[in-house]
């Protein structure tokens, strides 16, 4: 095994690698042993704390499935509202008119600079004070409001970058055959940009799914994470088991989305027809945090 960073290994390097592997293995084993001892000491590994997830369906049908459904509902609704809003904001930032461009830029930069949780807390109070949304529905509304405001601005940046990444010849040629500005955008630029943006949009989904958990922890929104707390209360302090199950579900969903995004990205890169650069998850979502969607 060699890479750009190190040479093919000779006998000494091989010996050193074996040594390093051994040391690392020992450290890892020590950590796992410590975790095992800690869990065992507190009785968290007893079968009684785990069996409800493997035998019977009560835990799944009463707690996990309703929670998961709420998580997915909130995420899906947020995406559906945020996508068109983000597209409008992103295109507005490219407008020729200052009075459209500047306000759009201010909105986008403002909502990207503020934590989603702050937006959600604000949304909750806003719905309580100025609308007659019932108090059961308010957390869902607040979560969606926070997610839409934040993610629409992130998606706006993705849309803008996607359009800017197209070769200039595309819009020049469209204008040369006499299209109006709106036509150029609608008929020429957007259809091409959408394909290049797809991977970045899919990885933004990961961020949205992850952020719904905020609603469960702070806003009493009964999603998947809140289900873990309820479960551990109901089944007698099986905190570790409940959190493990919930974490595994989150990882499964998000890993599927991440893999789908990178598959899309590879596919689009391979396609010879594509014109602009493919927007990876890494580019153009500054505040959303680094790679593959993220924060």
């Amino acid at each position: 095994m060699s890479s750009v960073l190190y040479d093919a290994q000779g006998p000494r390097a091989k010996r050193r690698n074996v040594l390093l592997t051994a040391v690392f293995l020992v450290a890892l084993a020590a950590l796992l042993w410590w975790v095992y001892r800690a869990l065992d000491e507190k009785g968290q590994l007893e079968w009684a704390k785990w069996e409800m997830f493997f035998t019977g369906t009560e835990a799944w049908s009463t707690y996990i499935w309703p929670g998961l459904k709420n998580t997915l509902t909130a995420a899906a609704l947020s995406v559906l509202i945020a996508l068109p809003l983000g597209a409008v904001l992103g295109i507005s930032r490219l407008s020729d008119h200052v009075w459209i461009r500047v306000p759009a830029a201010i909105v986008v930069e403002f909502f990207r600079a503020i934590p989603v949780l702050v937006l959600m807390i604000f949304g909750l109070a806003l719905f309580a004070e100025y609308t007659d949304v019932s108090s059961d529905d308010r957390p869902l509304y607040a979560v969606i409001t926070g997610l839409v405001l934040y993610n629409a601005s992130v998606l706006a940046e993705i849309v803008r970058a996607g359009i800017l990444a197209l070769p200039k010849g595309q819009s020049e040629a469209a204008m040369a055959i006499g299209m109006r500005k709106g036509q150029v955008m609608r008929v020429i630029l957007l259809p091409q940009a959408v394909t290049t943006m797809l991977p970045a949009i899919v990885s933004q989904l990961v961020v949205i799914v992850k952020d719904t958990a905020l609603g469960g922890a702070v806003l009493t929104f009964s999603e998947l994470l809140a289900a873990a707390s309820t479960m551990s209360a109901y089944y007698g302090a099986n905190t570790i088991a409940s959190f493990t199950v919930v974490a595994v579900i989150f990882i499964a969903i998000n890993f599927a989305l991440t893999s789908f995004a990178s598959w899309l990205e590879r596919r689009l890169r391979r396609a010879k027809k594509s014109t602009g650069a493919v927007l990876t998850a890494d580019d153009n979502q500054p505040n959303a945090g680094a790679t593959t969607g993220a924060f």
């Binding site: 960073l5 890892l28 992850k210 551990s232």
Partner: protein
């Protein structure tokens, strides 16, 4: 107009936010660099560990991690990180959670930085007989860090905003104070504006300054 602010420690709350940010930033920079080194290194086991760590951690919501440090680590397993009183236990747990989470993104930012270093640099370093740790430590990482300033700045901004998640385990930072104030005071819009302004003050300059620094220090190629 601002009478309702009396009795609330607004600056103290934002100071806690800053402390959370700085401590977690330093911690995750160290752990993230180690992870990045593992992921590009010659030892297969470490590579596997680094890859698995990043893929698992960045797909879990930060909220789950932070809540787990409190409910799981502290309350179930009795890990209190050497603190006695509830406030400092929660603060340390929040920092731990933020470090564990953010380092996965630091690792990815650094790895993308390592990818911008031309292959010839590492090849030349190997040609003059440097070992892997010398290639990485003396030649590749110094250049990688310089071109990672922009992505790392994004991670730092995201981290600043993510510190609000510590409100979930009762750390007295800005978002928790905002929730408390909204519950007790009538001036909803004004309170929201104040906290929004606070966060804009924290994140916008970070982005602008580090963006400028990033352009300044990036290796021109």
């Amino acid at each position: 107009m601002f009478d309702f602010l009396e009795g609330y420690d607004l600056l103290g709350a934002f100071w806690t936010t800053v402390q959370l940010t700085v401590l977690s930033a330093v911690g995750s920079l160290i752990w993230g660099t180690l992870l990045a080194a593992m992921r590009v290194g010659p030892v297969p086991l470490m590579r596997g560990f680094g890859t698995a760590y990043v893929n698992i951690v960045r797909n879990i919501p930060l909220t789950v991690i932070i809540l787990f440090t409190s409910l799981g680590l502290s309350q179930t397993l009795g890990v209190n990180l050497g603190a006695d009183e509830v406030d400092s236990i929660n603060f340390r747990l929040a920092v731990l959670g933020l470090i564990l989470y953010t380092s996965a993104f630091v690792c990815e930012a650094l790895r993308s930085g390592i990818n911008t270093v031309p292959v010839g640099q590492a090849e030349a370093a190997r040609a003059i007989g440097l070992s892997f740790s010398q290639v990485l430590g003396l030649v590749v990482l110094p250049q990688a860090f310089r071109s990672s300033v922009a992505p790392l700045a994004n991670v730092l901004i995201a981290l600043t905003k993510n510190t609000t998640v510590a409100a979930a385990i009762g750390v007295a930072e800005a978002a928790l104070l905002m929730k408390e104030m909204i519950e007790n005071e009538a001036a909803l819009l004004l309170i929201a504006a104040i906290f929004a302004f606070g966060f804009v003050c924290l994140t916008l300059p970070t982005g602008l300054i580090l963006g400028w620094v990033g352009k300044k220090v990036a290796v021109k190629r």
